[in-house]
Symmetry: C2
Subunit: 217 residues, 2 copies
């Protein structure tokens, strides 16, 4: 009824996003009504329409809330990582993403929505296009890192950096998808760490004679 202060307004906006995330996950994006979002947030449709132009805007707000910070962290792990060993940087990168998924309910919900509760048509097709760009950039980054590994003779010789990078991207995409499907844990959830280590280990060149230590921990 009464007008709120700026910070209260920001909290309302935040509550709407959180509510939308829950309702999106439960009912799917298209079946979710603005009223359901409003109810879940404890406001009326008027409030939702005040903060967001329409359902599409709410959807992209939900996405951005987890995707933007995540992208930053992923780029950091891959590019400006703490480790000299490029293959270990890949491993840390994969670990960082799955850790974020495993450790944060908001990330889980959002990924679940994006993967299983959204139809990428019309206004939502944009998201697919952007996702494609993200994948292209990821592929480029991974290729660079694998090339670095190849120069340092750390990459298995039979494996080209391009193929290795594509394979890792495929691995990541499949891993996330199956992790989301696997509520029981029997498929992949219990073994994410092992799977990542095996994936990276599989492309590490066998140690040369009495050579340099392979950065295992």
């Amino acid at each position: 009824m009464a007008r709120r202060t700026k910070e209260e307004s920001a909290k309302t906006r935040c509550a709407i996003i959180a509510a939308a995330r829950e309702v999106f996950q439960r009912n799917g994006v298209s079946r979710t009504t603005m009223e359901q979002i409003a109810d879940a947030a404890g406001v009326t449709r008027g409030a939702v329409y005040w903060h967001f132009a329409d359902k599409t805007a709410v959807f992209y707000a939900v996405r951005d809330q987890v995707a933007l910070p995540l992208m930053d962290r992923m780029n950091f792990e891959l590019l400006s990582g703490k480790t000299a060993d490029p293959l270990q940087r890949i491993e840390l990168f994969l670990g960082a993403l799955t850790d974020a998924l495993v450790g944060c309910a908001e990330v889980q919900s959002t990924f679940d929505i994006m993967t299983f509760k959204c139809e990428y048509v019309d206004e939502f097709r944009r998201e697919l296009v952007e996702s494609r760009h993200v994948h292209m950039e990821l592929l480029a980054s991974l290729t660079r890192v694998y090339k670095e590994a190849a120069r340092a003779k750390l990459l298995r010789p039979a494996m080209s950096p391009e193929i290795a990078a594509t394979d890792t991207m495929i691995f990541l995409s499949g891993l996330v998808r199956l992790w989301l499907m696997d509520k029981s844990g029997k498929l992949v959830r219990k073994r994410v760490g092992t799977l990542i280590r095996a994936h990276v280990a599989g492309r590490r060149a066998p140690p040369v004679l009495g050579g340099v230590a392979a950065g295992r921990r």
Copy 2:
């Protein structure tokens, strides 16, 4: 207007499924109306409701039309394959699925619908559950084949059959997903064969001294 003969009726049913596939892909399942399906099939909603109880029934008919034959073929390649080499059987299995995807427009559309144009809530949640079962069985089959490979000393010793199987399932899931996303071909479409060969080659044990030939072609 006039009543059709049985075969004409079957053709109508088929036309409805084909029309639904197209409209589902263009508009997404939830935004597709029965009238759109009917129009695309050149009939009225009455005809669609005659052949199918509701939109959900149409959806599952679209799915079954490609999923059922595909599952048979995949099981065949994996289990009762022509090759003795278990790793090559895995390669043939992966190739069979991607070939079906690359070579058949109906398979492409259906996979695209299932991956990007459907929200798995309420009546459609069933599909996710079934998909999980399919993945469990696939994992079991793959594990069996990799165990066979391990017994024959064909599997890289550092890799456990269970992890190899899970990794291959992840690879397949990611490959299909990225293939569908990659309309341009720059990500994976142009290199599916290479990627599959590299995936399988990566888990093959290095040839022993002057030992048995490793089934490369």
